[in-house]
Structure formats: structure tokens, C-alpha cells
């Protein structure tokens, strides 16, 4: 079952998109996401897909073209990173507000300035409030799997929200790992045919993007908020169906050795692998530590996370993005909110780490677990807003 391969994350994403056989792929290159449309343009040239490939003049145009293609009832996707995502900003809101399904491969990259092409999550974390569903991927396998599932979630009639599938730039996008691909016909059968409720080219006239006056804007925002809330169930249903097909079972987050854990690290994307490794080493010494890897950040799995943390004494939330709120990172803020209603709240500290491609090592997570041990033993959180590995701090 499945096709054994060894691929870098970007090529795995391109293959997933080829198997979906998009109607339209508009793209503008930016490191480290460029490989995705590069591989895809080869599939177009080789006649492996029926896709209309649009070489646009900017990311703003790439997202505009995606919205137009989706409004015409087409399946569409594009890829970007860091500043490219920033240039899409206006259209990210237009996409979710227009309620069209689009898949965006975000190959996470730091935001300029100072200019940096390496990995952190400040691009997609900045876009967390744009009304897009966000999935995060630890490795190339998850990036591939998430892309196969993404269009099913995004196109669901009760959801109709665009979706970002994030993975770490260079770390997984360019590193070659083993992977198991689905056969083309299985992907086709899984994603099915997309039948939108309306389309600009279906013969029945529609007006897309008209002015929304104050008497209606609130109701439209509420609709979108409800779609985001409802998407959790749809995401779980699609994960379940995918699990039955592939044997790869996914959830809103992965709990790693959490059953009896007293200390937990919460982390996204590729660092989860390193955290699990550090967790294993401490478990071998009898320490009760665990890892929670968030896979779905929008919608935020508030109740589920609170339940998973209800028996934990101390939690370190790892944010690979500095959002300059002066109180901590974005994942930290939401995790703290999730725990507020718990009868017995864990102590929760935040580490901003791995910015701009700073290497994240095994000993970094061991250090964090040791710091959590101090919190548990003293009963005091101390400074909750911490930065990992800053020289001179």
C-alpha cells in the first residue's frame, strides 16, 4: 500500500497538488517556497495536469488570481513564504470574506527586517487572524498529507474558508526524508469532484464582492466566525477518513507521552521532532515529561487542549515567532486562554525560540524541561515571557 519515496517537503507538496490536478495555479516565486510552483510548472509543461499556470507579477496578484479562479468555481492553490505572504495580506481577508476555498502552501520564513530568508513562524502567525484555517506540519509526510486533506476541508459546504498548510522553510521544505505517497487514483477518489454552490461562469449571474453596508457587515463576520468554529468537526471527520485510507491517524494536536506527564512542551512544526527526542531522553531517566504538537492552530482547539493540560503541573509554550505584544507569543496567549477555565490550572511559561533560522537543538528542549522542573519544584513561574538562547540574557 502506498508509494515509498524520498522527497524534500516542497516536492512532496507539489506532488500532492499534481494529484489534486488544480484548475488554476497562479504563482510568484519567493525563497524557500519557490520549488513548489517550479515543480508544478514542469508538470504543466509535461502535460501531467490540466492546470492553467499563471505567472503573475507579485504575491498580491497571485492571491487575487486565486480568489478569481475560486469565484469561477475552480480548484486553486499557490505557495509563498515570509514577505510574500505579507504582500498577500489584503487579499487574505478578501479570500476568507468572499468565502472561497483556496489552498496556500506556506513555507514558513522569517519577516524582514533585518532581511532573513530562514525559518520561523512570524509570517503565518501574523496571518492567524485573517479568517484562514491553519494546519501545521512536522515533516514532509505531514505536509503532503495535510495538502491532500486541505481541499476537502476548505471546500466543505458548511466551511468555505481558505486554508494554509504550513511547514518549516528549509528545515522540512528542502530536507529529503522518506515519505509514503498515495496512488494518484486514490487521491482523486478521496478529494472527489468540487461542486461549488455558485460560480461566476456557471451561466447564472452572480455579483462577487459588492459593498457591504453596516446593516450587513456584522452578520457576514458572524457567518465567517461560525464557519471557523464549525470547521473543527469537519477537520476531524476528514482526518478520520484519511486515517482509514492511509493508516496515518491525525488529530487537532498530537499528544506525545502525555498520559501521566507533569511537564509539557507545546510546539508546532519541525521542532516537534526535536522536542520528542529530548522528551524520550528524560523519560528514560524516569522523568514525567511530554510533548503536545499543535497541528491545527486555526480554529484553535481550546476545549481539547484544556483537557489535555488539565493534569499537567507546568507547561512551556514554544513560539517560533516574536509578535511584540510585550506579553508573549501568539501560541502562548491562546494556550493561556484555553487553560483559564480549568479548575486546576498548570503554570504556563512562554519561550520565544528559533527565530530567523536559529538552530533548535536537543539540548534546547532539555534546558526548557529543566526550567519547567524549577517551576514545579518552587511553585513559582518567575518571568513568563522568556527568550531562548539570547546572548547576554
Amino acid at each position: 500500500m502506498g508509494i515509498r519515496e524520498r522527497l524534500a517537503g516542497n516536492e512532496a507538496v507539489a506532488i500532492a497538488l499534481r494529484q489534486i490536478d488544480l484548475d488554476v495555479l497562479p504563482a510568484y516565486p519567493i525563497t524557500p517556497s519557490t520549488d513548489v510552483p517550479m515543480y508544478y510548472s514542469q508538470y504543466v509543461a509535461d502535460g501531467k495536469v490540466k492546470t492553467e499556470f499563471v505567472a503573475v507579477e507579485s504575491e498580491h496578484s497571485a492571491m487575487s488570481a486565486c480568489i478569481a479562479a475560486a469565484a469561477c468555481g475552480g480548484r486553486t492553490a499557490t505557495a509563498t513564504s515570509g514577505p510574500g505572504l505579507a504582500l498577500m495580506w489584503e487579499l487574505l481577508y478578501v479570500a476568507s470574506g468572499t468565502r472561497v476555498p483556496i489552498t496556500l502552501a506556506v513555507i514558513n520564513r522569517a519577516m524582514s527586517a533585518p532581511i532573513n530568508i530562514n525559518n520561523d513562524h512570524s509570517d503565518s502567525m501574523g496571518a492567524r487572524d485573517t479568517g484562514w484555517i491553519q494546519l501545521y506540519s512536522e515533516n514532509n509526510q505531514e505536509a503532503y498529507d495535510n495538502h491532500i486533506m486541505a481541499s476537502r476541508i476548505s471546500e466543505h459546504k458548511d466551511i468555505m474558508l481558505p486554508i494554509m498548510v504550513c511547514q518549516d522553510g528549509f528545515i522540512t521544505s528542502h530536507a529529503i526524508e522518506n515519505i509514503e505517497l498515495l496512488e494518484d487514483d486514490k487521491v482523486k477518489a478521496f478529494i472527489g469532484e468540487y461542486k461549488p454552490a455558485w460560480s461566476m461562469i456557471a451561466g447564472k449571474p452572480v455579483s462577487v464582492g459588492p459593498l457591504d453596508i453596516p446593516q450587513f457587515y456584522t452578520e457576514h463576520a458572524y457567518q465567517r466566525a461560525q464557519a471557523m468554529k464549525n470547521s473543527k468537526k469537519v477537520i476531524l471527520d476528514v482526518f478520520k477518513e484519511f486515517g482509514a485510507l492511509t493508516g496515518r491517524k491525525y488529530d487537532l494536536f498530537e499528544e506525545y507521552k502525555m498520559e501521566d506527564a507533569e511537564r509539557a512542551i507545546i510546539v508546532l512544526n519541525s521542532s516537534a521532532g526535536t522536542a520528542k527526542c529530548a522528551c524520550d531522553a528524560l523519560r528514560a531517566k524516569g522523568e514525567k515529561v511530554g510533548v503536545i504538537k499543535l497541528r491545527v492552530f486555526r480554529p484553535f482547539p481550546l476545549e481539547e487542549l484544556a483537557k489535555a493540560l488539565s493534569h499537567v503541573k507546568a507547561v512551556a509554550v514554544m513560539d517560533k515567532a516574536e509578535c511584540f505584544s510585550a506579553i508573549g507569543g501568539p501560541v502562548f496567549a491562546d494556550v493561556r486562554t484555553a487553560c483559564y477555565d480549568l479548575e486546576k490550572r498548570p503554570q504556563i511559561i512562554n519561550y520565544i525560540y528559533g527565530l530567523g533560522g536559529r538552530d533548535v537543538r536537543l539540548e534546547d528542549f532539555t534546558f526548557v524541561y529543566n526550567k519547567l522542573d524549577e517551576v514545579v519544584k518552587t511553585g513559582k513561574s518567575g518571568e513568563i515571557y522568556r527568550h531562548l538562547g539570547v546572548r547576554g540574557v
Partner: protein, 100 residues
Amino acid sequence: MIYVKDAYLNLSWKEIDPGGTILKAGTSLEIKTGDWRIMIPGFVAEKCKQCLLCFPVCADSAIPVKNEKRLDFEFKHCKGCGVCYKVCPFGAITFVKEDK
């Protein structure tokens, strides 16, 4: 200012089209955008030579034409832009501040 049918204002969030997309054609017929007007054109029939320069420049189809002759203004959608007044070579269109 309200320029949608009053009945629409009572629709719940479940009843309005997602994304504000309008799923039918010709809905502008239901909406009286003439309310936006500040200036108003007037038709002086006795000066009009029926040259028909005015009706093609009207963006709001506010100048009805029947049997190759223009009729008086239809003000439901006229926004008082004054373009018809500007193109008329015969002074057959007036343009003044509307009394409301």
C-alpha cells in the same frame, strides 16, 4: 442612509448570502440609488431637438427612450452627476440643487 429594501434589514445571519455574494441578477432594480443625489437635472421639452446625445452618456439609465425620442427623466437611479446637462448643446437640460 438606507438604500436597500427594508425587508432585507430584518434578515438573520442565517438568511443572508455568505460573503455578501449576490446570487441573482438585476437586483439594482430593487434599490433606489437616486436617494444619493444632491444636484438634479431637469428636462426642458420645448428646447429639446431629440438629438439623443444625452441618453448614451447616462450611467444610470435615467433617460428613457421610446420610439427614437427621449422622454422625461426617470429619477429612481439618477445620481445627479450632470453629464447629460454638460453634453446637451441646446440648453434643454437644467441642473440645479435638489430641494429635499
